[in-house]
Amino acid sequence: MENRFLETDVLIIGGGSAGCMAANRLLELDPSLKVVILEKGDIKYSGSIARGMDALNIVAIPNFTTPELFVDSNTRACGGIMDVPPAYQMAHRSFDLLKKLEGWGVHFPLDEKGNYRTLQVHPAGKFLTAMEEPDLKVIISSKAIERGALVVNRTMGLKLLVDDGRVAGAVGINVRTGEMVVCLAKAVIIASGGQARFGLPNSGHLYGTFDFPGNTGDGFVMGFEAGASLTGLEYHLRVTIVKDLSCPLLSICVVRGAKMLDILDNVLMEWECWDYTKANHAALTGLGPLRLRLSHLPTNIIEEIESILFTTERPVQERFFKNRKIDFRKHDIELWPTEVQLCGGHGLSGLVVNEKAETNVPGLFAAGDVSCVARGYLTGAFVFGEIAAEQAAHFVVSQPAPKIDPKQIAEVQQTIEKRTASADKRVDVRDLEYKVRRLINDYLVSPKNAYKLNRWLEWSEVFEREIDEDVAVGSVHDLVKSFEVWNIVKCATFSARASLERKESRWGNAHQRTDYPKQDDQNWLCHVDVRRGRDGEVTVCKRPLIRNLTSGGVL
């Protein structure tokens, strides 16, 4: 076995929405650039949008909505915790993005008047724009490949390489053969998604998560280790959607007249679906399972709903409902809160970036769910994928090739050797993951308190030792899982520390502390950031919000 060694201009870690858009944009700007994408799965369908998305969540359509309205509306949706410049940039470029995708063949349906179909999912403004394109991922990954990106599939990023304070590339591992990949790069764009495999889903299936389970916070941990700041890790995303299946359908159904009911038949949502407060509260206070009722709707509307749900984003819904003998015309759909996840796209958690997709580490950019462009969703991933590409293309022009530091690569090799060393190791890595995620449910999830959060910190040390010393690594697959579970534990620790730091409650059940039950704008209308200390420890600090349009540069 030998390492695969690559040298490139820009390395993209993660070939999902943001990664593919970034690759395409880089090569649009300069076809002579060398671009490598490390992809943990297989790039054709990988990531959160394997079968597309039913909408582009945020589009500021000219003469209809504005970026300014979005900034105001989203600030409210974020409970005030949002930096204006990245949000503004995203909304400002969102319509051009739609047109670009349309030019690639992505289907945006129009209404009878010839307008894009929009819905309100924000406190103000109809930004959600319908998109019916199951092949969305196939379209964007093909573009990246056609333009000449070198795709390295089945490779998980493990560690960023650093040369004199700036990023120099990364080390990854082939998830099938265990061979290492070392890629030197003048710039790195992390686009590896959020931390979707966080809390344990109620079904108990480790991979039965709402968001793509391949996303295990790899970018959060790699960025942290390289010195990048993370923010919003106390914000736990948890939505109420189809029970056991954890697939989304509310915005498709509610805006077409479906009603959300609690067990006392109170209507919690009807026509509008931007405010989940009542729903989440009811679900967690014994008034669930909540139910979604469609049976009162005309047949043609139900058929329209089915045609969207059963083809785009999570088409598996069709067989799930059939298996459970649920016919929308006769039966209600049970809803339940999902497991919690940490996500920059759905929530507020991720690497800190400015409106140029820059992190605080020179040469390191981030885009998509791995970064915090608060509640940016798919639009954020696409727009910031392009922004990161533009900035990286500019950055590499003046950069000399980085120097390789064999010590940093050796550290990864040593970890691999330690974990694969034969010894009397008895713990099954799947069991370890189950226990880690069960304890995340027990100790990290709202309602939070200092006692529970500190219990997690104690357990995290146990788990870190067990991953290195007790987990039986019988195959490359087990070894890769050990790295993923390590990342889950690390992200949970970031979250616990950030949650302990924010001594208030905010964002409903995303961060609710029984020991600090009230929202405290006076002290906590700010970010809580996590960063690596000098000895590798987790440090936390406050960071002021940026409320003005023009940013003051790198954070």
Binding site: F5, Y45, R51, H205, Y207, F212, L245, V316
Partner: protein, 535 residues
């Protein structure tokens, strides 16, 4: 790997699935692995033989032809002369001792769908890199094809007056018609590969010059010299080396072999030489070999063919001396061979001391093996004691730019093994041209398969294997292909004997039921039923 029956989630319709492996490749959670059929595991290039056989059985011949084409563009050649290691491992043998005639089915597709099976690859973006290949036998041809398909400019130098190596110049035309080889050469030329004939290493071209003028060099010059018996009289004029005789015949030279011939050797080359002598007009052809009849290295079918044409086989004899008595008579003195291999399984024949048999004939042909010709090779690239000429994993020589492939590396082997070498060298050269390291990622399919699984044969019924029709003896000559192809009905019936051993399966329990595996399956053979915990 986990037990196959454990998955209640991924269901494969085995009647439809033809193990293309697309589901395994596309799964974004790396959940699936291929349970690889024994035939495919045995094939040196691991082509999906189970797949194209099953497609023939299903009546989907065009799809079958396309499936072969994914793996190589030389099915017409391989379908005729492959040593079929796949058939040696076919599970069908355990049912009725007759493996599926995989080679015949490959040949059937090549003959009936040649435009698909031997279609050139689509033009790749030009890389700007240039590769010189020396030798246009199977290893060189395969490497030329692979490198050209990746966008590199390839020129193949061939010492003889036409390309093809052993395929065109030694293997008898009654086994592999010239037209088949020419068809393949033309196909590769259409892809942009340039052939330059009459260019021999050490004469018209030399390695140093090639190194200077090309981005990479592949030497694939094969084993074109005859191995010698090392007995007195072997180099008397009129004693033919089998490989030289076959070459002369392919060149169209008139050979007066005489009325009687003795051929020394027990392998396929000796059988080919013996049959050639019959077709040259010899009335009495005997074959003497060290091995017992049923231990001869030649294929049983070829031995049958020899016997059918009146060739006599005298087994367990080893030659001690060749004598010439007069103008047109040779005598070989032979001793009983007591043992061919030693305790360690190495070739080390043990002959009795005294001469037990003398045989005479007008000609003698020695066909006991071949060895490489290192003429024109710099010293550092030649075989030396105990050292191979290349890294066996990468086929790179001590000179980083220079690679080797085929019989020159392995010693005389089969056509398909030479092609596998050509493929391996092409992977290395492609990486070398882009400044990449060579040793990573060499495992077949990145290891995403297993061969360790039981094959259910409980429903299998014994059925006789198809027999390829052949020319009646009186119609055979040096140039007419003896073997004919199967008819459609016979091909389908033979393909139906396949036990369909391999299949993809959920192994890692990481399913997110996102469904690209279903979407990508070309025959809707895969169904995601959803993990039980979630349903």
């Amino acid at each position: 790997m986990k037990s196959v029956g454990a998955s209640a989630n991924i269901f494969i319709n085995r009647d439809k699935c033809y193990t293309c492996g697309i589901c395994v490749d596309r799964c974004i959670m790396d959940n699936l692995r291929m349970y690889l059929s024994p035939c495919r595991a045995a094939c040196p290039i691991h082509m999906n033989c189970q797949g194209y056989v099953r497609l023939i059985a299903q009546g989907k011949e065009e799809e079958a032809a396309k499936e072969i084409r994914k793996y190589l563009p030389f099915a017409g050649i391989i379908g005729r002369v492959c040593t079929h290691p796949c058939e040696e491992k076919c599970e069908r043998r355990k049912v009725d001792d007759q493996p599926v005639h995989i080679r015949a089915l490959k040949r059937y597709l090549a003959d009936t769908h040649s435009e698909i099976v031997q279609e050139p690859s689509p033009a790749a973006k030009e890389s700007g890199k240039r590769v010189a290949i020396v030798g246009s036998g199977p290893a060189g041809l395969m490497a030329a094809y692979e490198l050209s398909a990746k966008g590199h400019a390839v020129t193949v130098y061939e010492a003889a007056s036409e390309p093809g190596g052993m395929l065109q110049r030694v293997i008898p035309a009654f086994r592999l018609p010239s037209s088949e080889v020419v068809y393949s050469i033309r196909m590769i030329e259409r892809m942009g590969v340039v052939f330059q004939t009459g260019r021999a290493l050490g004469r018209e071209i030399d390695v140093e010059k090639l190194e200077r003028e090309w981005n990479s060099v592949l030497l694939a010059t094969g084993c074109g010299l005859a191995a010698n018996l090392g007995i007195p009289g072997e180099d008397i004029k009129g004693v033919y080396q089998g490989i030289d005789l076959l070459r002369m015949v392919r060149e169209g030279q008139t050979v007066d072999i005489g009325r009687s011939v003795i051929v020394v050797g027990g392998g396929n080359a000796a059988i080919d030489a013996a049959l050639t002598c019959r077709k040259l007009g010899a009335e009495e052809v005997s074959l003497v070999c060290l091995e017992e009849r049923n231990q001869m290295p030649a294929f049983p079918a070829e031995i049958e063919e020899a016997l059918e044409e009146g060739i006599k086989i005298q087994d367990c004899w080893g030659p001690k001396r060749i004598l010439k008595n007069g103008d047109r008579e040779f005598t070989i003195e032979l001793s009983r061979c007591q043992r061919v291999f030693d305790e360690n399984g190495l070739f080390c024949p043990q002959l009795e001391d005294n001469c037990g048999l003398s045989v005479s004939a007008e000609s003698v042909v020695v066909a006991i093996g071949q060895r490489p010709d290192f003429f024109g090779y710099p010293t550092d690239l030649r075989l030396s004691k105990g050292n191979g000429i290349a890294d066996p994993l990468t086929l790179q020589t001590k000179r980083p730019k220079v690679f080797v492939a085929g019989d020159i590396v392995t010693g005389p082997r089969s056509v398909i093994e030479a092609m596998a070498q050509g493929q391996k060298a092409a992977v290395s050269i492609d990486r070398y041209l882009f400044g990449e390291t060579l040793r990573w990622g060499r495992a077949f399919w990145q290891g995403s398969y297993t061969t360790d699984f039981p094959v259910d044969k409980s429903d299998a019924i014994s059925r006789p294997r198809a027999i390829l029709p052949r020319l009646p003896i009186q119609e055979r000559n040096l140039y007419r292909e003896v073997e004919k192809t199967l008819g459609r009905k016979a091909a389908q019936e033979e393909a139906e004997r396949c036990l369909n051993c391999g299949f993809p399966a959920e192994v890692n329990q990481t399913c997110w039921y996102c469904l690209p595996c279903e979407v990508e399956c070309p025959v809707d053979a895969l169904e995601v039923r959803m993990p039980y915990l979630v349903r």
